[in-house]
C-alpha cells in the first residue's frame, strides 16, 4: 500500500484553499521543501525536504532542528494527538518514536518484518499501533524498551487504517482483506467483525463523542457505524469516481473535512465539508494549492510554501 500512502500525502498536500482566511504564521524553511505536516497543536511542523531529510520547525518562531536524515527514507510518520511524540516507520520494519518537543530520549526498535506502512499513536500516548506491509498489525507498549502487547491478524495483506475510541477501550482496524475488526484494548481479544465492505477501507475515525465510527475508502463514501454493535448505521452519498483518503472533525461531532483522491488518477484531489446532522456536503473552494493542512483547535489550517518560506492561514 505504499503507493496509496504516498498518494495520501499528496492528497493532503493538495487541499485547495478556502476563500476567507487569516494569517497564523510565516516562518523560514530550513530547506527546499516538498511538503509539511502540521502538529495537532499547531506549535510545530515537520518539514520534508526535496533531498529527503526532514526537520522540525517551531511555529511561530521558526526555530528548526533536524528530525530524520535522508536515508533510510521514512515510510510512515504520525504525531500523537497532543503533539508530544512523533513516530516514524522505515522500509526495514524499524520504528522510531521521537519527542516532538522537549529532550526525552528517542526509542528505536525492529517492530516488523517488512516496510512499515501504517502507524497510530494511541490517545494516551503510551501505546503504538504498527502495521507493516503484508503482515499482521502489532500493538506496542511504549516503555523504555518497547514491549509487544498484541498481534492482530488479518486474512491476507496488512492493515490500512486503525482508530481507538476516545475512552481508549476499543480499537478498530481495517485490513487489506476489507474486513473491520474490533478489539478490546484491555484483553486484546477480538470482539466482532464488520464484513460489509467489498473494497478496502483507507481511513477510520471515531466521532469526538465516541458515539459513531466513520469509515471511508475505495467505495467513494463515508459509512457510519455503531461502535457498540459493529452494525452499519447509514452511508453518506458517494463522491463518484473518488476514494476517501482522510476524515477530520472540525471541533464537534457534526462537521468533517473529508479528503478524496480521484480513482482514475487523472484529476487533482479535492475536499468536502460534511454536515453529519443533515448529510449534506459543501466543497472546499479551489483557490490555490497548499502544501499542508491540519485541524488545530477545531479550525482548519492550510499552508502555502515557496522554496524557503511557509505561510500558515486559518480558514474561517
Amino acid at each position: 500500500m505504499r503507493a496509496f500512502r504516498l498518494a495520501a500525502v499528496l492528497v493532503i498536500s493538495a487541499v485547495t484553499a478556502a476563500v476567507a482566511s487569516q494569517p497564523v504564521a510565516k516562518v523560514q524553511l530550513p530547506c527546499d521543501s516538498l511538503y509539511q505536516m502540521l502538529s495537532p497543536t499547531g506549535k510545530q511542523a515537520v518539514v520534508a525536504c526535496k533531498d529527503h531529510r526532514s526537520y522540525l520547525v517551531s511555529i511561530p518562531d521558526g526555530a528548526s532542528r533536524p528530525l530524520l536524515p535522508a536515508e533510510p527514507r521514512v515510510s510512515a510518520l504520525v504525531y500523537s494527538k497532543d503533539g508530544q511524540w512523533l513516530a516514524a516507520g522505515f522500509p526495514d520494519g524499524t520504528v522510531r518514536v521521537m519527542p516532538g518537543q522537549g529532550t526525552a530520549a528517542a526509542r528505536q526498535w525492529k517492530a516488523g518484518p517488512h516496510r512499515i506502512d501504517t502507524l497510530y499513536l494511541f490517545p494516551d500516548g503510551k501505546k503504538l499501533f504498527v502495521a507493516p506491509v503484508d503482515s499482521p498489525g502489532t500493538v506496542w507498549e511504549l516503555t523504555e524498551t518497547p514491549t509487544l502487547l498484541a498481534t492482530l491478524p488479518v486474512a491476507f495483506g496488512g492493515m490500512d487504517a486503525v482508530a481507538v475510541s476516545p475512552d481508549g477501550e476499543l480499537l478498530v482496524a481495517a485490513g487489506d482483506d476489507t474486513v473491520l475488526r474490533w478489539y478490546d484494548t484491555a484483553t486484546w481479544q477480538k470482539m466482532r467483525e464488520y464484513n460489509g465492505f467489498l473494497l478496502e477501507t483507507f481511513v477510520l475515525t471515531f466521532t469526538p463523542d465516541g458515539k459513531y465510527l466513520l469509515a471511508g475508502g475505495a467505495d467513494s463514501r463515508i459509512t457510519v457505524l455503531d461502535p457498540a454493535s459493529g452494525q452499519q448505521v447509514r452511508q453518506l452519498p458517494p463522491e463518484a469516481g473518488s476514494s476517501v483518503a482522510d476524515i477530520d472533525f472540525l471541533g464537534g461531532p457534526q462537521r468533517t473535512l473529508t479528503l478524496y483522491f480521484d480513482n482514475s488518477g487523472e484529476k487533482p484531489p479535492h475536499a468536502l465539508f460534511w454536515d453529519l446532522a443533515t448529510d449534506k456536503s459543501t466543497p472546499l473552494k479551489a483557490d490555490s494549492r497548499p502544501t499542508c493542512s491540519g485541524i488545530v483547535t477545531g479550525k482548519l489550517w492550510l499552508c502555502n510554501s515557496d522554496s524557503r518560506t511557509l505561510t500558515i492561514l486559518q480558514q474561517e
Partner: protein
C-alpha cells in the same frame, strides 16, 4: 522418479561432480536430486494496491467483444516451494482496462479462479493500460490455498515501453517492482491484422 546410473553420472558431470559417494544409495541420491531440481523460490510479494475488490465473478473470459486493447492470453501454474502443484488454490486476478481504469463499481477485468487438481489457470483478457499514478502496466494477483501463506503480487510485461527493451537494467524505473522475476516475456502471435499476446506467469506459494 528414478534415474539410471548413466543418467546420474552424466548429470553429475554437468555440475562438475567427478565421484559419487558409494555409501549413498543411488535411488536416494536421485530422489534428493529430483527434489532439488523441482525446488522453486516463492513468488515475490508486490503491493495489493488500493483497488482490490472482494467477490469477483468466476470467469476466464475477461475480454468482451469490442473491448479495446491487445488481446492477452494469460496463464500459468500454481506450485509450492517443493515444486509440487497446489491443487486447492484460489486465484483472484484484477487489472485495469486498456485505458488504465479500474472498475470500482462493477467487476470488469476482475475474476476469481479455482484451478483444481491440475493447478493450471488461463484467462483471456487485454493488455492493461497505464494507470496514471503507476509507472508500469501490471496485473494484480491474490493467491490463497490452505496451508500456504497468501500471496499478493503483480505481473509486469517485458514489452512495457518503460523498460526501453531492457527490463534487467530498467525495472527499477517503477519503484513498486520488488523483483525482476515479476517481469515476464510476452509472446506476440497472429497475423498483423489480429495480433495477440501470450504470457505465462507461474505462482509459487510458501507453506505456513
Amino acid at each position: 522418479m528414478t534415474y539410471t546410473r548413466r543418467e546420474l553420472l552424466e548429470r553429475c558431470a554437468v555440475f562438475g561432480a567427478v565421484t559419487l559417494a558409494t555409501s549413498i544409495p543411488l535411488s536416494s541420491l536421485a530422489f534428493a536430486w529430483d527434489g532439488a531440481e523441482k525446488k522453486r523460490t516463492p513468488t515475490p510479494f508486490c503491493e495489493l494496491g488500493p483497488f482490490y475488490k472482494r467477490q469477483a465473478p468466476n470467469t476466464t473470459m475477461l475480454r468482451k467483444p469490442g473491448d479495446s486493447g491487445m488481446p492477452l492470453a494469460l496463464g500459468g501454474m500454481v506450485y509450492d516451494v517443493r515444486g509440487e502443484v497446489v491443487p486447492d488454490a484460489k486465484l483472484e486476478i484484477w487489472q485495469t482496462d486498456n485505458d488504465g481504469h479500474y472498475d470500482i463499481e462493477g467487476y470488469r477485468y476482475r475474476t476469481v479462479l479455482e484451478p483444481g487438481p491440475k493447478a493450471s489457470y488461463a484467462i483471456d483478457t487485454v493488455m492493461p493500460g497505464h494507470y496514471p499514478t503507476r509507472v508500469c502496466q501490471h496485473v494484480h494477483y491474490l493467491v490463497t490455498a490452505p496451508g500456504h501463506k497468501p500471496l499478493i503480487t503483480q505481473l509486469y510485461f517485458a514489452t512495457d515501453p518503460v523498460f526501453d527493451g531492457d527490463p534487467d537494467k530498467n525495472y527499477g524505473r517503477d519503484p513498486l517492482i520488488t523483483s525482476r522475476e515479476l517481469i515476464r516475456p510476452v509472446m506476440i502471435k497472429g497475423d498483423p491484422k489480429q495480433i495477440t499476446a501470450a504470457v505465462n506467469f507461474d505462482l509459487v506459494l510458501e507453506a505456513l
